[in-house]
């Protein structure tokens, strides 16, 4: 009897201690925004043929980034990292949606984005639209993109490379700067999926 009371007391103390102390593992690797505010509006066309807004993915954690299909370095690395993170999450990946919005609406239509993103993960959805719609999305999320035209008429686009992390309730929770690893994404996604 005494032993069971002692065990119960110890267990209660441990629970209280856990509740009182923010676990170190709950600290995101990404940059955290506080207070949490609703993610800015996104009104585009999805590469899956459906209208694209963030309400569509309520209940899932959304990883939102901007780029373009002709990007030679940053976008392939980012997309490969996000695909790797989803793969590592296994069954939980169903609750993670990657949305990749083009900054090159002249070359990236729905079919092009579907082909490009599908080579990394067929569940990724691209955001496409008119120049005006894309610029509105960029402004809402503080994205910068700069076009550099080469001598031969071809062009490249320098663009913001962070990944926005939007929680299941649609709150803009965190921002992962470019260059983080698959494991760091998995770490943060697990935390966001628990909430």
């Amino acid at each position: 009897m005494r032993r069971s009371i002692l065990a119960a007391l110890l267990s209660a103390t441990a629970m209280l201690a856990n509740a009182a102390m923010p676990a170190a593992t709950d600290a995101l690797k990404a940059g955290v925004l506080t207070p949490v505010m609703a993610a800015p509006a996104l009104k585009l066309q999805g590469s899956d043929g459906k209208p694209l807004d963030l309400e569509r993915f309520r209940g899932k954690v959304v990883l939102l980034a901007f780029g373009f299909s002709n990007c030679g370095e940053v976008c392939p690395i980012t997309l490969a990292t996000l695909a790797g993170a989803r793969k590592k999450l296994a069954a939980d990946a169903v609750n993670v949606q990657v949305v990749y919005v083009t900054v090159d609406p002249e070359r990236d239509d729905a079919a092009q984005m579907r082909k490009f993103l599908g080579s990394f993960d067929p569940t990724f959805i691209g955001g496409v639209g008119t120049r005006g719609e894309i610029e509105a999305a960029e402004k809402n999320f503080g994205i910068s993109s700069t076009k550099t035209v080469n001598a031969d008429g071809s062009y490249n686009i320098g663009h913001s490379s962070s990944i926005y992390m939007i929680d299941r309730a649609g709150g803009l929770r965190a921002v992962m700067p470019y260059g983080h690893t698959v494991d760091e994404f998995v770490h943060d996604l697990k935390i966001l999926l628990r909430q």
Binding site: G31, V32, T34, P35, M37, P177
Partner: protein
């Protein structure tokens, strides 16, 4: 001078040397301490309006130095009335952005609170060796004096 007086003079001559050695010993071996891991910077109210009025005054330093294990978290607060873009994110009025660093490197970020539109964060390894600790303390002391 009598031999007794000569000894006293020699002892007094050694005192500054001992003090310097003790100070160097402390600076090199005592654990480094900072009040918080967060290095806080605030974007004051009215920044955007001042910028629009042509005021090029720098509100934030264009170069911020952080040290892993000591002050390795950048904490930005947007006290302005309009959203501000800091590198990887947009911060709404009243919002804070807390960005931890785990790798020593030089990071370049776009920042609308700067006249140049650019901000550099230099993240350095934690000083472990005595000489690097002395160097770190000296630099902190110099920077605190100029702030």
């Amino acid at each position: 001078m009598s031999p007794g007086k000569r000894t006293i003079v020699r002892v007094w001559a050694v005192v500054p040397l001992v003090a310097v050695l003790a100070a160097l010993g402390w600076a090199g071996f005592a654990p480094l301490d900072v009040p918080s891991r967060d290095e806080l910077f605030e974007i004051p109210k009215g920044t955007y309006a001042r910028r629009m009025a042509g005021d090029k005054v720098e509100i934030l330093p264009s170069r911020i130095r952080l040290t892993l294990g000591l002050n390795d978290v950048l904490l930005l607060r947007n006290l302005d009335d309009v959203p501000q873009v800091f590198g990887p994110t947009i911060m709404m009025p009243g919002q804070s952005f807390r960005l931890p660093f785990e790798k020593a490197a030089e990071y370049q970020f776009a920042c609308t609170a700067h006249a140049s539109g650019q901000m550099t964060i230099v993240v350095e390894e934690e000083p472990v060796m005595p000489w690097s600790r002395i160097h770190w303390r000296l630099r902190e002391w110099r920077e605190n004096r100029t702030r």
